[in-house]
């Protein structure tokens, strides 16, 4: 993906803080959980942008805030040139037709009391797109598209396996012909052999329908597999963003390097050969992020830099064409 492509989504300095209140009688503000803290990136039309990070890195919050399922605390979200943060509820609902979401847990995201036909038809009804025979045909067409038997329309979610339920979620997301689909850990609850089925389906549908994906996951190998570009998040911030091959061959942020080396390789020989960076400690609490660089408490390089990393927040900057990184020490290391 290059800069010649049209930007479908532009995120500028997005922040989402969740307030922490204490006290039952008189509630007072104790602080904020900085789930997303000053994040900027673009998503180009037709690409898959992978957003990878560990638990609590804020990747899901980014996805939800783009759809304004959470109200952003600060910052701008442009979708196809329209500033979403300025829209009222009615306008927002209109434009949400063009952006859909697939959730992680296919057991919790489908209403167990209604048939899958009604589940898939709901978006069509809400937006008054189709009714009667037309609606029925569209639902069957969607089921076929995601590889399910169209005769299953009258069955209930419990009659399906996890992988099939995720196909139903995909069909529901595609019902309105969206431009953007936000996939929030769509495969992490599925078994390995089923994950591949769903990923292949997502790839096929993207080609057929020209979809743009924001693919959120914690599995670095899977994100690299499906993405054109990847962003690595840590504690509410993007640490590094680049093309999938660039970030793999030339990771510049020490966190990205550590994350890559921690991913298990299904190959005993290659696993023995590679050098590993094992990070100490845990991810800090997003209510009290470290002063200076967010990663400084676990960074193997920060002690070398002495004051800088512990006092000053690094700027997220384009170090070379299309390769963005937020690290003070990047200049100290060779760049290919």
């Amino acid at each position: 993906m290059t800069k010649n492509h049209k930007k479908l989504v532009e995120i500028q300095q997005l922040k989402k803080y969740f307030p922490i209140h204490r006290g039952s009688l008189v509630s007072r503000l104790e602080g904020n959980i900085k789930a997303v803290d000053d994040v900027s990136f673009d998503i180009y039309e037709g690409e898959t942008l992978g957003l990878v990070g560990e638990t609590g890195s804020g990747k899901t919050t980014v996805g939800r805030t783009i759809l304004r399922l959470y109200e952003p605390t600060e910052g701008q979200i442009f979708f196809d040139g329209v500033n979403l943060t300025k829209l009222n509820n009615r306008e927002m609902r209109q434009i949400r037709r063009r952006m859909q979401m697939i959730f992680q847990d296919p057991y919790a995201s489908l209403n167990p009391r209604i048939t899958i036909g009604s589940i898939i038809a709901t978006p069509l009804e809400v937006h008054q797109i189709a009714r009667g025979k037309e609606k029925k045909e569209r639902v069957q067409q969607l089921l076929e598209m995601v590889g399910l038997n169209p005769e299953f329309v009258n069955r209930y979610p419990h009659e399906f396996s996890g992988g099939q339920r995720q196909r139903i979620s995909i069909a529901r997301a595609l019902a309105l012909n969206p431009d953007l689909v936000i996939c929030d850990e769509p495969i992490s609850s599925l078994d390995v052999s089923i994950q591949a089925q769903v990923v292949n389906l997502l790839e096929d549908l993207q080609q057929r329908l020209g979809l743009t994906y924001l693919f959120i996951a914690h599995d670095l190998s899977m994100v690299r597999h499906i993405s054109d570009r990847m962003a690595v998040m840590y504690l509410g911030k993007i640490m590094e963003l680049a093309d999938r091959d660039e970030i793999y061959l030339n990771p510049l942020h020490p966190y990205t390097q550590a994350l890559m080396s921690a991913v298990p390789l299904p190959d005993p020989e290659a696993a023995k050969m590679r050098s590993r960076v094992i990070l100490d400690g845990d991810i800090p609490s997003p209510s009290k992020p470290p002063i200076g660089c967010n990663f400084s408490t676990r960074c193997p390089l920060a002690p070398m830099a002495k004051e800088l990393c512990y006092n000053e927040e690094p700027e997220f900057r384009e170090i070379k064409s299309d390769h963005w990184v937020a690290c003070h020490l990047v200049d100290l290391r060779p760049i290919n």
């Binding site: 560990e54 396996s161 390995v192 591949a196 190998s221 690299r224 299904p266 005993p268 590993r276 845990d282």
Partner: protein, 332 residues
């Protein structure tokens, strides 16, 4: 065989449920040597956890029942010993670490108390000695400032630290065999790397055998010496780790490896998915249980159950009628 630590013969476990008889483990046989690291790999429902619980006799009855089999450990059949003996073995010479460290630690007792309890029970130490031992163990598994942390409750520990505490508890009585059931599945990759590294180091230092149960073919590739691949309650392939990953023989293993994306893959690689779903274990097919999803299926596969047989390499075993044909296709 020399130094055999554990020998399982024809282990069979079933669950009698309202929906029918679930055939969870179907005649599993294998042995483990002292100091081995064995990876048991398979998807949910393949019987990998149930087989481990069965050998510790931790299957709830009803609905579960160990129908048949022998589990030889230190010259005794664990399925035949009396209740007090098995209690001494559990947590004593065989220890177990479970997947979810939050639910396997008791939230109303301190971490120190829970580890002490095991030491007092099994090693007969007094409270003061046990506390010293607990501090030593927590330090060994990499918990900083262990002396003050023993008074913390589980909720004051992070996920990775809880799993370290569980491992410390498992190690407290110097087990000969540590069974780790998906110990890193609930953890982030950077924390998983810490735990895998810890277990590898402890295994080398203490010389115990480790059985690592997982659905993640990546984790055991780095850690294990030998692999058992399970499907629908059967071991379908078994061998040295290099043979399993470099020359998988069972179509299921081949499919499983193909469906994993690799961090170092070339651009444009497409995942090989296994069609269909794992079978309903109340209604297992007559022949090979993988036959309905297999690309190489023939009439014999549908009619007769294949047993583990040696491939061209003696200790590499596969349960497939057509492994030679499949191997031929794979080498093309």
């Amino acid at each position: 065989m020399e130094n055999t630590l554990l020998e399982i013969k024809n282990l069979t476990t079933r669950f009698y449920t309202e929906d029918g008889v679930v055939r969870a483990v179907n005649g599993v046989s294998y042995s483990m040597q002292q100091g081995d690291i064995l990876g048991v790999v398979g998807e949910s429902g393949c019987g990998k956890s149930v087989h481990a619980l069965s050998l510790m006799r931790l299957i709830p009855y009803p609905p579960g029942k160990i129908e048949a089999g022998e589990v030889w450990f230190n010259g005794r059949d664990l399925l035949k010993v009396n209740a007090s003996e098995i209690r001494n073995i559990r947590g004593g010479s065989i220890a177990m670490v479970f997947q979810d460290p939050m639910t396997s630690l008791n939230p109303v007792h301190t971490v120190g108390f829970q580890i002490n309890e095991a030491i007092i029970q099994h090693l007969g130490m007094d409270k003061k000695q046990a506390t010293e031992r607990t501090i030593e163990l927590l330090t060994l598994v990499g918990i900083p400032d262990a002396r003050s942390r023993i008074n913390d409750y589980p909720h004051q520990f992070s996920g990775g630290m809880r799993q370290r505490a569980m491992i410390a508890m498992g190690l407290s009585c110097e087990p000969q065999l540590l069974i780790a059931d998906e110990p890193t599945t609930a953890l982030d990759v950077t924390i998983q790397a810490q735990i895998v590294d810890l277990v590898r180091r402890l295994q080398e230092e203490l010389g115990m055998a480790v059985m690592w149960i997982t659905h993640d073919l990546g984790v055991v590739a780095e850690l294990a010496h030998k692999i058992n691949v399970m499907y629908a309650g059967y071991i379908v392939e078994r061998g040295d780790v290099l043979d399993i990953y470099k020359q998988p023989r069972h179509p299921y293993t081949i499919g499983l490896l193909g469906s994993l994306p690799r961090l170092d893959e070339a651009p444009g690689t497409r995942l090989v998915s296994i069609p269909g779903l794992p079978p309903d274990q109340t209604r297992l097919p007559l022949g090979c249980s993988f036959a309905p999803r297999c690309n190489y299926v023939n009439e014999q596969c549908l009619q007769e159950l294949p047993e583990l047989e040696a491939t061209e390499k003696g200790n590499h075993m596969v349960a497939c009628w057509r492994w030679e044909y499949v191997a031929g296709i794979q080498s093309l």
